[in-house]
């Protein structure tokens, strides 16, 4: 232990200096942060009057968490949201059981039947304008993920295919959406699109945002998947063709399983960006988790507690993204140790 410290922290004069500086900095910073966030913090109470100690006012979060999670969804209808997410978790859990016989259909229904059911269930409680908070963040992110992966795969295959029309359309689509900031996509979806629609026809704003986010992330996903496709040697296609497998059979059974495996980190990277990009819907007047925290900060009853609010939102985002990152690492690890070399 002492040896390790000597070797790694105090090997030279410069090393020692750096080590001591960092230790001093931590000694000064950590107690301050802990004091503010924990020891001097206020946890119980109902109003700002209960936050007197000078530390963090977690009372604010405690009083408003429901709004942070559900937005403006009516309180007596919250079971709809809870039920939807409970079913989602159970359904995905079933989809992960690898020995399950009907797994294929579970996965398929998860991305087709389930979203429609959940949408109907949620819409029954309140119009989409009232949806918000973490619930809205998750809805946009999950729809974006569920749509962008298959769409990205098709676009990537299209971009590498021979028919010039298909190839050209895919390239045009990818380059168009990749070249535009997500903010302008959302603006277009919420402001420009309604102008081009005939009078009286009204697309739901959430739906427009979902379409915008999905198409945008598909373009990114397409390029990630294409990277994986390019790593597959030509001989794999030739062997598949020589065995009389069709184009789609070859892609589904031979090429994609290998290509996607190569780009798991890139795919998860895109998913994580997508989760964080959902915060941009604020600019078209929708209140995702961050947006609703920000809106609450202007409430006169809770003025001055921005730090607590942003920390809370940041922590939730971090938990979401870190979970995805760990899940991807586990998946890579499992594949790496199954003896499969590609």
């Amino acid at each position: 232990m002492l040896k390790w410290i000597r070797k790694n922290l105090f090997a030279t004069v410069l090393d020692s200096l750096v080590t001591l500086t960092i230790v001093a900095l931590l000694a000064w910073l950590v107690p301050k942060i802990l004091g503010w966030a924990l020891f001097d913090a206020n946890f119980v109470g109902v109003t700002r009057e209960d936050c007197k100690s000078g530390g963090a006012c977690w009372v604010f979060i405690g009083q408003r968490w429901r709004q942070f999670i559900y937005g403006f969804y009516p309180e007596d209808q919250l079971w709809r949201v809870n039920l939807s997410f409970a079913v989602l978790i159970a359904w995905s859990g079933l989809a992960l059981v690898r020995s399950f016989r009907w797994r294929k259909y579970v996965v398929l229904s998860l991305v087709t039947v389930f979203p429609l059911l959940a949408f109907a269930l949620l819409l029954g409680g309140a119009p989409t304008a009232k949806w918000g908070g973490l619930m809205l963040t998750l809805i946009i992110a999950l729809v974006g993920i569920a749509f962008s992966l298959p769409a990205g795969i098709l676009l990537a295959l299209g971009r590498r295919s021979n028919p010039p029309i298909i190839k050209g359309l895919c390239v045009a689509f990818i380059e168009l959406w990749r070249g535009v900031p997500l903010i302008s996509v959302l603006f277009m979806a919420s402001v420009m699109l309604p102008l081009t629609l005939p009078e009286g026809v009204n697309f739901d704003k959430l739906l427009r945002a979902l379409v915008g986010v999905s198409l945008f992330s598909s373009a990114y996903m397409a390029e990630v998947v294409r990277g994986g496709l390019q790593a597959i040697p030509k001989g794999q296609f030739e062997a598949a063709h020589a065995l009389a497998l069709s184009y789609w059979q070859a892609q589904r059974l031979i090429i994609l399983p290998q290509a996607l495996r190569h780009v798991i980190p890139g795919i998860v990277n895109s998913f994580i960006s997508l989760v964080k990009d959902t915060t941009l819907v604020l600019i078209i007047g929708m209140f995702d988790l961050l947006g609703i925290v920000q809106a609450t900060l202007t409430d006169p009853a809770w003025l001055g507690y921005a730090t607590e609010g942003y920390l809370f939102a940041g922590a939730i985002f971090w938990i979401l993204c870190f979970t995805m990152s760990r899940a991807s690492a586990r998946l890579e690890h499992r594949l790496a140790h199954s003896g499969r070399t590609a």
Binding site: G235, H241, L243, T341
Partner: protein, 245 residues
């Protein structure tokens, strides 16, 4: 009766003429060895047979299915590929599947054979290439010689009437060449039509009914192996044999 016939088949890659009006007839059950310098068109010729390449002029007829120039009729291509197996220089096994899965894939998805039946068939062929004990392994865990034998077994699983070999031993370490050639010699005894691109002259002598010597996209000389190796008629063949023997 001929199972394969080529009539003035031409194929170019850009300016390079890989096949120049090649005509050839192969009888059912015949075993043919193609040799010649690199770039002479041997690989292109056999790759035209299972439509990995599309020829530009002339006609190719395989087991009654006729391809005109640049024909890409999906149905015909699929029909030919079910009938023609191919073994590649680089094995081209599917690295994400086990040996057994590699073998069962095409029978199950192309011929719609049930899994149990496909596995039984596959194990039979693995025994024939003498590696039934490797069925559960992944290709990356096998030696080159074993991988190539798996590749041979994989093509046999489709019960092809014609087998194409594209330099099957060229990527192997010398000590593994024999185990692959032994399997091929055994196959030659089963009556399947074989076209083998190889420089293994000993193999050609024991197995081939006919040796074709190609150069610059043309079949320059052909004959029984004994006659060809002992007394090549053309200067080009003589030069080539001097270089490799």
């Amino acid at each position: 009766m001929s199972i394969i016939s080529l009539e003035r088949v031409t194929k170019s890659f850009g300016e390079f003429k890989a096949l120049n009006a090649v005509s050839l007839t192969v009888a059912k059950g015949e075993r043919i060895v193609l040799c010649g310098p690199s770039g002479s068109g041997k690989s292109t010729l056999i790759r035209c047979l299972n439509r990995l390449e599309t020829h530009e002029e002339g006609t190719i007829s395989i087991d009654g299915i006729v391809f005109g120039p640049s024909a890409d009729d999906r149905k015909k291509i699929d029909a030919v590929r079910r009938d023609v197996g191919m073994v590649f220089q680089q094995f081209n096994l599917f690295p994400h599947l086990t040996v057994l899965e590699n073998l069962c894939l095409a029978p199950m998805h192309v011929k719609k054979v049930a899994r149990g039946e496909a596995e039984k068939l596959a194990m039979g062929y693995l025994e024939r290439v003498r590696i039934p004990d490797q069925a559960a392994k992944f290709p990356g865990q096998l030696s080159g010689g074993q991988q190539q034998r798996v590749a041979i077994a994989r093509s046999l699983c489709m019960s092809p009437r014609i087998l194409l070999f594209d330099e099957p031993t060229s990527a192997l370490d010398p000590e593994m060449v024999k185990e692959v050639l032994d399997v091929m010699v055994e196959l030659a005894g089963t009556g399947v039509t074989m076209l083998v691109v190889t420089h293994e002259m000993a193999f050609a002598r024991t197995v081939a009914d006919r040796v074709l010597f190609m150069d610059k996209g043309e079949i320059v000389e052909e004959g029984a192996p004994a006659a060809f190796f002992e007394a090549p008629k053309t200067v080009r063949a003589k030069q080539f044999l001097d270089q490799i023997l």
